[in-house]
C-alpha cells in the first residue's frame, strides 16, 4: 500500500489538495450533481452544506470512487485523476467515515480495523497501533472491546481511528454528529481541529448550521444538485447560511406563548417495562405530566428507550397485568389497559418516528393512509364498509391544509418525498385537534421548509390548548418550541425542567451521564453480526 506523505511540500499551499471541475452526475432523469466546481486545501476544515437530496452524498461518493461522474474530472494535488474505486481513494490518502457505520457488532475493535487494513499487520502490532493512535487524538479506545458493547459515539471513534491508521491527507465525514451528544460532538471537533493543524484536510458534511460555523472555515453550499455558493463561514450568520441552503427566506416560528397555569391533561406515573428482546431497553419508573397548552420535549440519544416509551404511550405495548404501578392517564381517565384505537377515541393522537411502515404505509394511497388512524371518524366507515369518497375528501383536506405537495390526486405514499409524507402524517393527526399529541422525532430526515412548517403546526396546536409530548433527538428543536424538557437516558427519564432554566450543555450531561450503557449491552445483547 502506498502511504500518502504527511509532510507537504510548500508549493502545495496554493494547489488544492482535491479539486473538482464541472462534475456532473445523473440518475435517470434526476440530475444529482450539475457542473460542480469545488476545492479543498491541505489543513482546511471545509463544510459541504445542503438539505437532504441536495447532492452532497453523490458528490462525496464520486470523490471516494464509489460513483463515476458523467462529466467533469477531479484533480488531486494538481494532477488530473480518475478514482475508480474506494481502495484507490484510500491509497491516495482519502479516508471516509460513513453516516451508517460499517462495523461488525460481534467482532472486537481490533478485528474490525484489521478487516479494513492490508493483511500484513500482526494482531499485537495492530492493537498497539490502535492504542497509540487513539490516545494521540484524545479518543482512547480499547482494541479488545466488542463493538456491540460500545456506545454510538465510541463506534464512530472506531471508524475514525480506522481511517487515521491509514494516514489520510483528506478525511471525509458524512453527517457525523447526528448520533452524538453535545459533549461527544465537542470531543469530535477537537480531534478534527487537531488533524487540520497537522495538515490533514477535513470535508465535513452536515446540515447543522451552528456546527458548521463552529468548526469550519469555508463552506460549499449545494441546492438541488447545483453549487449555489462558496462562503467563508465566519462572515455568515446561521440564518444567512440557512437561506442559501434552502433558497428562500426562513420563516420565524414566532415567540412561544407561555401557557397560563392550567389543569394537567396527560400524565404517566411509574411506567416500567422489562427488556423483552435482546435489543430492547428496559424502561425504569418513568413519570411525567403535561398541562394544557404546553409542549414537553423528551430529549435523548436514539436507542435509549424512545421506541419502547413510544410503544407504551400509543398502547402498542401494554403491561401484562393491570395491577402494576403503571398509570397512563388522560385527565382523570385511566388509559393504561387500552389499545391504540381506544386511546385515540379518548382524545390522544400519535405520530411515531418511522414514516415508512409504521406511521404510514408506502404501498397504500394517501386516502388509505388517512384511514389508518381515521377509521373511527364519522362518515368514513359505516357498517364495516369504507366510504371511499369520504376518505378521499379527508386525505385532500389534510393535503390542502398542510401543504402536502403530491404528484397526483390520490398518489401512493411512496411517491411523496420524506418531507411531504411527514407533513401528511403530522397533518393527519393535528387536523383532528387532539387533546394530547404524542410525537416522536417529528422532523427526522425532513427538509428545512417542512421542518419549520411542522414545528409551527405543533406550536399552534399547543396554543389552542392541547398538550404536546415531543420525543426528539434534536436539541435545537426542543429549545425552539418546547416549554419543558426531560431527558431519556438508558430507559430512565430525568426530572422535568423548564427550558428557559437550562443550557444545552446541562442537557448534554443528562444525556450522557450514565456509564451503564455497556453494562446493559453485556448483560443481554445477542452478539450476532449484521
Amino acid at each position: 500500500m502506498t502511504k500518502a506523505p504527511r509532510k507537504l511540500n510548500p508549493k502545495s499551499k496554493d494547489t488544492p489538495l482535491l479539486a473538482s471541475y464541472g462534475m456532473t452526475k445523473s440518475f435517470g432523469d434526476l440530475v444529482a450533481n450539475q457542473d460542480i466546481n469545488f476545492s479543498i486545501y491541505p489543513g482546511e476544515l471545509h463544510a459541504l452544506l445542503g438539505e437532504n437530496g441536495a447532492g452532497k452524498s453523490t458528490f462525496i461518493k464520486m470523490a471516494y470512487g464509489l460513483l463515476q461522474p458523467d462529466q467533469g474530472y477531479l484533480e488531486w494535488r494538481g494532477e488530473r485523476i480518475t478514482v475508480t474505486n474506494p481502495q484507490q481513494a484510500r491509497a491516495m490518502g482519502i479516508g471516509m467515515v460513513f453516516q451508517h457505520f460499517s462495523l461488525f457488532e460481534a467482532l472486537t475493535v481490533a478485528e474490525n480495523i484489521a478487516l479494513a487494513l492490508p493483511p500484513d499487520f500482526t494482531r499485537q502490532k495492530l492493537s498497539q497501533m490502535i492504542k497509540t493512535k487513539s490516545a494521540e487524538y484524545g479518543i482512547p479506545l480499547n482494541p479488545d472491546s466488542i463493538i456491540a458493547d460500545l456506545s454510538v459515539g465510541q463506534q464512530q471513534r472506531v471508524e475514525i481511528v480506522r481511517c487515521l491508521l491509514q494516514n489520510p491527507s483528506l478525511l471525509i465525514m458524512d453527517e457525523p454528529t447526528s448520533v452524538l451528544t453535545p459533549q461527544e460532538t465537542d470531543q469530535l471537533f477537537q480531534v478534527l481541529k487537531r488533524l487540520a493543524k497537522q495538515g490533514c484536510a477535513v470535508l465535513f458534511i452536515s446540515h447543522k448550521l451552528d456546527e458548521i460555523k463552529q468548526l469550519t472555515t469555508r463552506a460549499t453550499i449545494l441546492r438541488g444538485g447545483i453549487k449555489v455558493a462558496e462562503v467563508k463561514t465566519k462572515d455568515q450568520s446561521t440564518r444567512q447560511l440557512a437561506e442559501l441552503m434552502i433558497g428562500a427566506k426562513v420563516k420565524e416560528i414566532g415567540t412561544l406563548s407561555t401557557p397560563k397555569s392550567s389543569k394537567t391533561l396527560f400524565s404517566v406515573s411509574g411506567l416500567s417495562r422489562s427488556a423483552e428482546g435482546p435489543f430492547d431497553i428496559a424502561l425504569k419508573d418513568i413519570s411525567f405530566s403535561v398541562k394544557a397548552g404546553e409542549i414537553l420535549g423528551i430529549a435523548g440519544i436514539a436507542g435509549n428507550g424512545q421506541s419502547e416509551l413510544m410503544a407504551a404511550l400509543t398502547g402498542e405495548w401494554r403491561p401484562a397485568s393491570a395491577a402494576g404501578v403503571n398509570k397512563i392517564m388522560i385527565g382523570a381517565a385511566d388509559m393504561t389497559p387500552l389499545a391504540p384505537a381506544a386511546r385515540r377515541r379518548a382524545g390522544l393522537a400519535f405520530i411515531p418516528e418511522e414514516r415508512n411502515g409504521h406511521a404510514a404505509v408506502p404501498s397504500m394511497t394517501l386516502s388509505e393512509n388517512a384511514l389508518l388512524t381515521g377509521y373511527d371518524q364519522a362518515d368514513v366507515v359505516r357498517r364495516g364498509i369504507i366510504n371511499h369518497d369520504n376518505t378521499l375528501a379527508m386525505a385532500r383536506h389534510i393535503s390542502k391544509t398542510f401543504d402536502v405537495r403530491q404528484p397526483s390526486d390520490d398518489p401512493l405514499a411512496s411517491s411523496l418525498s420524506g418531507g411531504n409524507l411527514q407533513k401528511f402524517v403530522v397533518g393527519r393527526e393535528i387536523i383532528k385537534s387532539p387533546q394530547v399529541l404524542i410525537v416522536s422525532q417529528p422532523t427526522w430526515g425532513v427538509d428545512i421548509g417542512a421542518t419549520q412548517f411542522i414545528r409551527t403546526a405543533m406550536a399552534n396546536l399547543a396554543k389552542q390548548g392541547s398538550a404536546v409530548i415531543m420525543i426528539s433527538q434534536d436539541l435545537e428543536e426542543i429549545f425552539q418550541i418546547a416549554h419543558h424538557i426531560a431527558v431519556l437516558n438508558n430507559g430512565q427519564l430525568s426530572e422535568t425542567l423548564k427550558v428557559d432554566d437550562v443550557t444545552p450543555e446541562h442537557i448534554g450531561l443528562l444525556m450522557g451521564e450514565s456509564p451503564t450503557r455497556s453494562g446493559k449491552a453485556r448483560s443481554g445483547k445477542a452478539r450476532v453480526s449484521s
Partner: protein, 386 residues
C-alpha cells in the same frame, strides 16, 4: 454482471400484461415439450386448449372443473393478502367433505331442502377448524403456517382414508373403501339452463363459486376488514399502530380460507361423487395456489384464472384420450405456469441491469447501508412487539 434493481414505480400495464405473457410463454413451452416428446405440437396444443371448448357440454364441464378452484383460491387470496401462507387448502377441503359427509350419512332418510344447507355449514366449520390449527400455532408459538398447514394435509388424507375403510365403510360395498351413498337431499343437482337445457355436468355449485368470488372481492376491496387484511400484509407495524390485532386477522384469514376450501370439498362430493371415498380431490387445493397468483390476488380475476387453469386440466384429459399424451403433462404445464408467474412477479418489481465493477462496489456499499438501517428497524420493531 447482472443485478436486479428495485423499480420505483410499477407501470400499470405490466401488472396486467405479466399474467398474460406468462400464459403465452407456458403455451409456447408446452409446444416445445410436445415436439420433443414426438407429438405434433400444433395438434397437441389444439387438443389441450381448444378442443375442450369446441362442444357446449365441454364448456359445462370446464365450469365444473373451475368451480372448486375459484372457491378455494378466493379463500387463499384472503390469506396471501395478509401475508399468511396457507398451502394446506387440500387438507381443509378434505375435512370439509368429511364434515358434510357426516351430516349426510347421519340422516340417510332426510328429504328436507335444508339438508344441503346444513352440509355446507358443517363443511365450512370443519374446514375452518382445520385451517385454525396452523393459525393458532402461528400466533401462539410462531410456528410456520407453511409447514403446519402442509403437514395437516397429509393427516387429512390419511384420516379420510381410514374413515372410509373402517368406521364409515358401507358394509354392502363388497369391501370397497366407500361410504353409503348420500341421500338425494344431500346431492347437488345438475343445472338446467332455460332454452339450452343441460350443459354437460354443469351444476348449482358453479353459480355459488361465482358468488363467493364476487363477495370475496367486495369484502377485500371495500370493507374495513379487507383493509385490515391488506394492512397486516403490507405493514404489520402500521396495522398494530392503527389498533388492529394481528393475531385476530391471522385467525380470520386462515378460517375463511379453510372454510371456503371445506365448502369446495362438500360441493365436489355432493355434485360429482355422491359418497365419500379415499380420493376426493385431485389436488385442487394445490392447483388453487397457482390460480390465486395467476389472478394477482384479486378474487374477480380468480374466476378467469380458474377457468384458464381448469382448461389445462380438461385439455389434459382430452389429449390423453385422443392423442395418448400422458396426463402428467398437465402437471408440467401447471409447474411452468407457476414458474413463469413468479418470474413475472419478480420482474414486475425489479428491473434487470447490467453493471460494471465500480458500480457493483457502490451497490454493495448501499446494500450494507440498507442492512444497517434494516437492523435498526428490527431493533425498533422488536421494541414495539408487546
Amino acid at each position: 454482471m447482472i443485478i436486479l434493481q428495485k423499480r420505483k414505480d410499477i407501470p400499470t400495464f405490466l401488472t396486467i400484461a405479466v399474467p398474460i405473457i406468462a400464459i403465452l410463454i407456458t403455451v409456447l413451452a408446452g409446444g416445445i415439450i410436445f415436439a420433443l416428446l414426438g407429438y405434433p405440437p400444433l395438434a397437441a396444443l389444439y387438443e389441450f386448449f381448444i378442443a375442450p371448448l369446441s362442444r357446449p357440454d365441454q364448456v359445462g364441464n370446464l365450469l365444473v372443473k373451475a368451480c372448486p378452484l375459484i372457491i378455494i383460491s378466493t379463500g387463499l387470496i384472503f390469506c396471501y393478502r395478509a401475508n399468511v401462507w396457507n398451502i394446506g387448502a387440500e387438507g381443509q377441503l378434505i375435512l370439509g367433505a368429511m364434515g358434510a359427509g357426516w351430516v349426510a350419512l347421519s340422516f340417510p332418510e332426510a328429504e328436507s331442502p335444508f339438508m344441503i344447507l346444513a352440509m355446507a355449514v358443517m363443511a365450512m366449520l370443519a374446514g375452518a377448524l382445520w385451517g385454525a390449527i396452523p393459525g393458532l400455532l402461528k400466533i401462539r408459538f410462531k410456528a410456520s403456517e407453511i409447514l403446519v398447514s402442509l403437514m395437516l394435509t397429509y393427516i387429512a388424507i390419511f384420516l379420510v382414508d381410514w374413515t372410509v375403510r373402517s368406521p364409515w365403510r358401507d358394509p354392502l360395498a363388497f369391501g370397497f373403501p366407500l361410504t353409503k351413498a348420500y341421500p338425494d337431499a344431500g346431492l347437488i343437482p345438475v343445472m338446467s339452463l332455460p332454452g339450452i337445457g343441460r350443459l354437460g355436468q354443469l351444476h348449482w355449485g358453479v353459480p355459488v363459486a361465482f358468488l363467493v368470488a364476487i363477495c370475496g372481492w367486495f369484502y377485500l376491496t371495500r370493507s374495513l376488514g379487507g383493509y385490515q387484511i391488506k394492512l397486516m400484509g403490507d405493514a404489520p407495524r402500521a396495522g398494530r399502530f392503527a389498533g388492529f390485532n394481528q393475531g385476530r386477522v391471522t385467525m380470520f384469514v386462515m378460517m375463511v380460507s379453510g372454510g371456503l376450501a371445506g365448502l369446495a370439498g362438500m360441493i365436489e362430493v355432493s355434485a360429482n361423487i355422491g359418497m365419500l371415498q379415499p380420493q376426493i380431490s385431485f389436488g385442487y387445493g394445490f392447483t388453487a395456489i397457482i390460480v390465486a397468483f395467476l389472478a394477482r390476488l384479486n378474487p374477480l380475476a380468480a374466476i378467469a384464472a380458474g377457468l384458464v387453469v381448469a382448461l389445462a386440466e380438461l385439455g389434459g384429459d382430452t389429449a390423453q384420450i385422443s392423442m395418448r399424451i400422458p396426463k402428467v403433462v398437465t402437471g408440467i404445464f401447471n409447474g411452468i405456469l407457476l414458474f413463469m408467474l413468479l418470474a413475472g412477479e419478480t420482474l414486475t418489481h425489479y428491473r434487470i441491469v447490467w453493471v460494471g465493477v465500480t458500480e457493483k462496489a457502490n451497490i454493495e456499499k448501499a446494500s450494507i447501508e440498507k442492512a444497517s438501517i434494516e437492523k435498526a428497524n428490527i431493533k425498533k420493531d422488536g421494541a414495539s412487539h408487546g
